[in-house]
């Protein structure tokens, strides 16, 4: 069962513990520790919050984070993959408009062997809003069997919006498989046209496609009601 | 006199896991041997160990090839001495064309044998004849090694490499797997062309039809749990076809 927390500044999982935590209001700093063989699923909704999240993972631990970021604010995730065989995922979606300013920062450190990380960050920026995605993967010297991947995709929805992406791979070991990608662009014209041929007006078609683009991040969420509700919130954001 | 290839009590591990547990086998020049066995019995390990794949560790036993201690030689020394492995899943090497690759390989072998390296003209002559015989087009030679080829084409290119390098001892690891009937025939045809009294073969396959019709082995060995448990002739193929490996597996559980 999922537990609901508000403004948690600490979240500690003992070895072998499994928890599903939903947060809809964020503290300024949150420290998460996932003990050996423990598993944490963490869903966060941030409406204009500033939050610095630090995560430490034990041996064979897993951490599965999905963040929905609406509005201004600076969110950072610092992950210390400290235990051998641990897995860390951090997916996020951001939707901005008006004069909003948002920054999504990740810093993943593969400090143990056989660690895996995954990041998928998608955003849509309209109005005069500006977004910065600053994502890092660091693999220190001598670490073995590391697998890290990061993807960032953003849609620019207006002429006055701006997205800046700074994906970083810093690798000091050779037994690695690492990739990152970042794409900033616009809605697919063929898809827009296709929807219009079915009688949907352009504005509506844009909304549908933007929502579909962003909602992909929510697909992995294990609480269907939450996924639908947060999907709706993202959709509303696009309507502004 | 000992055999041409003499494997004696060979033990080998992957990591800490023993796979070959005392395998012995003798192969003489000009002979075609088939190795069969259930999955996980060590067939592919044997072929990789014979080639010197660094991922496998030989823990005991001996392998002599034409009177030389094979186990002290590194991968390329064994290749230049005449050992060839047709891989089950040949790896892609982007950006390196098949003809460039073969030129390096052939000249490395010639150099090791004290022969003059081929220049561009004599090299092209050498490969053209063999390419034609195996239906390898110029376009296939220009493409990067194993990149974007169908399963059948990859196997044909393995056979082509064998024809170009003219090895003394060929190991064919699941040559026929994943191929349609016509492709199996082409693969088998390559082996027929290559058969000679100075060249021997070790063929790993499950495909009795392919072995009977294309390979026509002199000897068949059954490998179970890292050891050869039965030696025989082509008649063993029929027994496996009829009864599987059940009889050979008795008392050899992993």
């Amino acid at each position: 069962m999922a537990e609901h927390l508000e403004k948690a500044d600490e979240l500690m999982l003992k070895p072998n513990e499994t928890r599903v935590v939903v947060e809809t209001a964020l503290a300024e700093n949150t420290a998460v520790v996932v003990g050996d063989d423990a598993h944490l699923v963490h869903y966060r909704l941030s409406d204009g919050a500033n939050n610095a999240l630090t995560v430490k993972l034990g041996k064979n631990a897993s951490y599965d984070l999905v963040t929905v970021h609406l509005g201004s604010g600076k969110l950072s995730v610092y992950a210390d993959l400290a235990g051998e065989g641990c897995f860390c995922r951090s997916d996020a979606v951001y939707a901005l408009n008006g004069d909003e300013r948002a920054e999504i920062k990740t810093d993943f450190r593969h400090n143990a062997d056989k660690t895996t990380s995954r990041q998928l960050v998608k955003g849509a920026v309209g109005g005069r809003a500006k977004a910065v995605f600053d994502g890092g993967i660091l693999i220190p010297y001598n670490k073995k069997a590391i697998d890290g991947a990061q993807q960032h995709r953003a849609l620019l929805l207006s002429k006055t919006a701006e997205v800046k992406a700074v994906p970083k791979l810093e690798i000091y070991a050779d037994d690695v498989k690492c990739a990152h990608g970042s794409a900033i662009g616009t809605l697919n014209k063929d898809q827009l046209f296709y929807l219009q041929t079915r009688g949907i007006d352009e504005a509506q078609a844009r909304r549908i496609l933007t929502a579909a683009f962003l909602n992909e991040v929510l697909d992995t969420m294990r609480i269907p009601e939450l996924r639908d509700e947060w999907g709706r919130l993202i959709g509303l954001k696009n309507d502004d | 006199m000992s055999a041409w290839l003499e494997i004696t009590d060979l033990h080998a591990n992957v990591g800490d896991k023993p796979i070959l547990k005392g395998l012995s086998l003798s192969i003489n020049a000009g002979e075609v041997h088939v190795i069969m066995g259930p999955n996980g019995s060590g067939k592919s390990t044997l072929s990789n160990v014979l080639c010197g794949d660094p991922r496998y560790e030989v823990t005991a036993g001996a392998v002599a090839f034409k009177g030389r201690d094979l186990l002290t030689m590194n991968v390329e020394e064994r290749a230049r001495a005449g050992i060839f492995l047709a891989f089950q899943n040949p790896i892609e090497i982007p950006g390196v064309s098949m003809s460039t690759f073969m030129k390096y390989a052939l000249n490395a072998k010639r150099k090791a044998a004290g022969l003059k390296e081929y220049d561009a003209v004599s090299f092209m002559k050498h490969i053209k004849i063999r390419a034609q015989a195996l239906e390898i087009t110029d376009e296939m030679l220009k493409r990067p090694v194993n990149v974007g080829f169908s399963g059948g084409e990859k196997k044909r290119l393995e056979t082509f490499q064998m024809a170009v390098l003219e090895p003394d001892f060929c190991i064919l690891d699941e040559m026929d797997s994943g191929l349609d009937v016509d492709a199996v025939k082409v693969a088998g045809n390559g082996v027929k062309i290559m058969r000679s009294p100075e060249r021997s073969f070790l063929v790993i396959s499950h495909n009795i039809g392919f072995l009977h019709e294309q390979i026509r082995p002199d000897y068949v060995h059954i490998l179970v749990n890292g050891r050869v448990v039965e030696n025989g002739g082509a008649e063993l193929l029929d027994e496996v076809r009829a009864n599987g490996f059940a009889r050979f597996q008795k008392g050899t559980a992993a």
Partner: protein, 482 residues
Amino acid sequence: MAEDKISALDAVSGDAYKYGFVTDIEAETAPKGLNEDIIRFISAKKGEPDWLLDFRLKAYRHWIGLTEPRWAKVDYPPIDYQDIYYYSAPKSAKEPKTLDDVDPELLKTYDKLGVPLHERAMLAGVAVDAVFDSVSVATTFREKLAKQGIIFCSISEAVKAHPDLVREYLGSVVPYTDNFFACLNAAVFSDGTFVYIPKGVRCPMELSTYFRINAKKTGQFERTLIVADDDSYVSYLEGCTAPQRDENQLHAAIVEIIVKDRAEVKYSTVQNWFPGDKDGKGGIYNFVTKRGLCAGYKSKLSWTQVETGSAVTWKYPSCVLKGDYSTGEFYSVAITNNYQQADTGTKMIHLGKNTSSTIISKGISAGRSQNTYRGLVRVAPAADNARNFSQCDSLLIGDKCGAHTLPVMVDGNPTASVEHEATTSKISEEQLFYCRQRGLGAEEAVSLIVNGFCKDVMQKLPMEFAIEATRLVAVTLEGSVG
């Protein structure tokens, strides 16, 4: 001013770097160190007009207030800018009129480097400007090119013969205020190449500059200025080598390129400065600013670089895509071994509409080296339909080296598309095994796989350069597999 005799000082060791020899030649050298007098000395030596001396002094005065950038992922001891000779010229090099006037010792040097200056002996199709320490010693095929109105000469000469052109464009793409090393160069640049391709002319041969640092403790600060007028085309090659010495030497060059309407410039570099020995001793510090302005409609600029040399590299050949429908390309192979450090990449600045850029970068790290791709793609709000695609792949050979990918993308236009993909992995054990099973030696296999990995970039090089580059890959990676 002092005139030192610079003699063969260092014995050449039997290392793989075959260009590590020293030419024993009499040189005229400015006193060590940097101040306004030195700048006046350089300017006077070259008989420069006042405007150029002013340009230098302005730059110098600006430079004094700057601090050396340290944001690159490279690490080297502080440089003592007063312990460098800023000017060294072979005595015999004073304005040779024809090749017959060139010191035979210099001709021999270039022969040894594989850069024959005798036009008769040359393979058809490449004209060479040879820069030895601070001066250009020979430029070939000038008359033939002049018939089509192409200007190909040393920049010192251009200052005298074509002052208006030089004055118009010098510093127009890389202003002296641009960065620390560019500013230093603007103050002390000694020579370099000037190219002007007139309207509608397709340059009939490859133009090339061959840079050679010979003198000890001498910095090389050359400046290349290429102007391609409307509807013109030129392919330009740059090569470089230096003797093998125990101390580090500074190379801080500037390349400025102006590409006008529908013109195209292809700039290729095979960079083979001495990288230092296997223990990281010696080698060139290569701190270079290269930038081109695609000024007009459908201008096209393509950078191709193969970086194998230098102890430390800091270099980002860039394109400012100002003209509508202009195109920028950056194709790069950077290979580092032993203790080399390379921080290199590109900037693509999209200002015009329908501009497009492509970045393909292949980094190979071996030994204890560090190899960084650093890039910037910026799409300005006015750059409708701008397109960028970047692919950066890194290959690691051995577990003591590093590979870093640090791109920055800024998109401010909703009709634009910016895409970046990067991968990092170690050289495949399976590929190595496959090659070795076919009889290739371990080093041969590595070099073959690496060349395959770099193929997309290598094939952008002109033929003669591609062969040289392929060979250099093998040489650079020697000793990388144990």
